[in-house]
Amino acid sequence: MIILGIETSCDDTSIAIVKNGNEVLSNVVWNQNKTHEYYGGIVPELGARRHLQVINLVIKEAFEKASISFKDIDAVAVNNQKGLIRSLLVGVSAAKAISYSLNIPLIPVHHIEGHIYSNFLENEKLQFPHLCLTVSGGHNLLVLVNNHFEYEIIGNTLDDAAGEVLDKVARFLGLGFPGGPLIDKLSKSGNNKKYHFPRPMLEESNFDFSFSGLKTSLTRKVNELNTKEEEYKIEDIAASFQEAIVETLVEKTLKAAKIHQIKQISVVGGVSANSRLRELLKERTSKMDLDIFFPSLSLTTDNAAMIACLGYYKYKNHQLGNLDLEVHSNLDL
């Protein structure tokens, strides 16, 4: 069974073709970083315009890479449940046109659910139940994944998501956009113990996150250093700040796994590409008899392969949509 996936929730236009839920025939992602760089963040209207400009080109490239034709597609899956409305509308419109033209089922899916399924594309050993940390610029959740489509959200961010804070801090430090990869790269040559930043909410009994205060802490520290005219390395600031975020994510996740007696942890979303997060989680889980799963780097950011993968399981479960499908910016998981 071959599913075409469409993902246009934010600033990536992605079309993927996936066979039987895990064989990725193509996964084309056109990123808009250069479009939004000037503004230091995503401008929704510009994003939607770019999606429309490139949608046909991305579709064509996906079919060329997969070496199949339109008539070989059995169903089309599209994220219509989480993201920027104007961006989602382009993907959903395209999905409907494909569904109608080829007379194939339309499968609506949730963006975060797609990320959760990104690890099913590559890791056959990942089973139920498992604990999933979904962490990106738009979401920051701890989810107990008890079975297909059975989720229990046990932790959420009370303010900014980790990726959002990394972007904002990178902008403050004048590093550019998107901030996560830039801070990760800079941190490699910095001392992560040079400065101490708080580890928010680690003492709380719940699994929620709060990173907003952490970025205030960083701006204060940098302003203080500047006022005192103390010399400092931006690499040390970045590494110390990243360490605070990573340690918070890791500690909360491991605590949740222990309390809920979970043996497998899956980490997904853009921030799951962070090298320090991967390193620390691997190190800590290896000492605790826990399995840890990360998607390939190409599957960490927004991509349509995960949407097609999830679409496969939704199709098997008869969770289909109609041509009057609408979009939602923030539907519950």
């Binding site: 429309l52 579709i59 509308l89 959903v92 046109a97 109608y100």
Partner: protein, 207 residues
């Protein structure tokens, strides 16, 4: 020749209107929805229904046409995203028509004024406008409030507030078809008029 043509005209330029018309055997069949911001919900079902009710397949069409604007940016984008992909999958050509051009087609023989403006409603009490100086080819399209427009063009004699009707569109489409004026579907975009002046007006987000 005209009687043998089969084509669709799609209009999603009005925030509160989704219109689909089928030209078949020299006649026009129309279906529409007046649901506010209902383009995403209604457009594809309207296309499906009008074709089905007239025993047509999308692959039977000679081409598709769409109103390029000006109008609701979101509505236009839904129309364009739908049609770009419909045309790609079904190997169909696309014709775009402009709301101002359609209005002028109807009025060019009835107007004796030297300076006129055509206005189409936008958001925040602004209008998409086309200013025309009679007897010349001078025209200016833009977006502004009515007050600003009058200050900018103090000699305007008549201002037309228009809401183009689908029935006016057919002649414009047929003329473009006869002149072979199709657009490149991969590159076509709505006629936004305004960029929103994003670079100068956008306040950089603060930490």
């Amino acid at each position: 020749m005209k009687e043998k043509l089969k084509f669709l005209i799609i209009n999603t330029s009005d925030e509160n209107f989704t219109g689909v018309s089928l030209f078949l055997k020299g006649r026009i069949f129309s279906k529409n929805s007046s649901e506010e911001r209902g383009h995403i919900k209604n457009l594809m079902p309207l296309i499906r229904d009008i074709l089905m009710e007239n025993s047509c397949e999308v692959s039977d069409l000679n081409f598709i046409s769409i109103v390029e604007g000006p109008g609701s940016w979101t509505g236009l984008r839904i129309g364009f995203a739908t049609l770009k992909v419909l045309c790609l999958i079904n190997n169909l050509k696309l014709i775009v028509i402009n709301n101002f051009d359609i209005f002028l087609r109807e009025f060019k023989n009835k107007n004796n004024s030297t300076e006129i403006a055509i206005l189409i409603g936008s958001s925040n009490q602004n209008y998409y406008y086309r200013y025309l100086l009679s007897g010349t080819r001078e025209k200016t399209d833009g977006i502004s409030s009515l007050e600003t427009l009058i200050i900018k063009y103090p000699n305007i004699e008549k201002i037309y507030f228009v809401k183009p009707d689908i029935s006016f569109f057919v002649d414009e489409v047929l003329e473009k078809y006869e002149k072979n004026i199709f657009v490149q579907i991969d590159e076509v975009e709505p006629y936004y008029i305004s960029t929103g002046d994003l670079k100068s007006n956008f306040v950089k987000a603060k930490l």
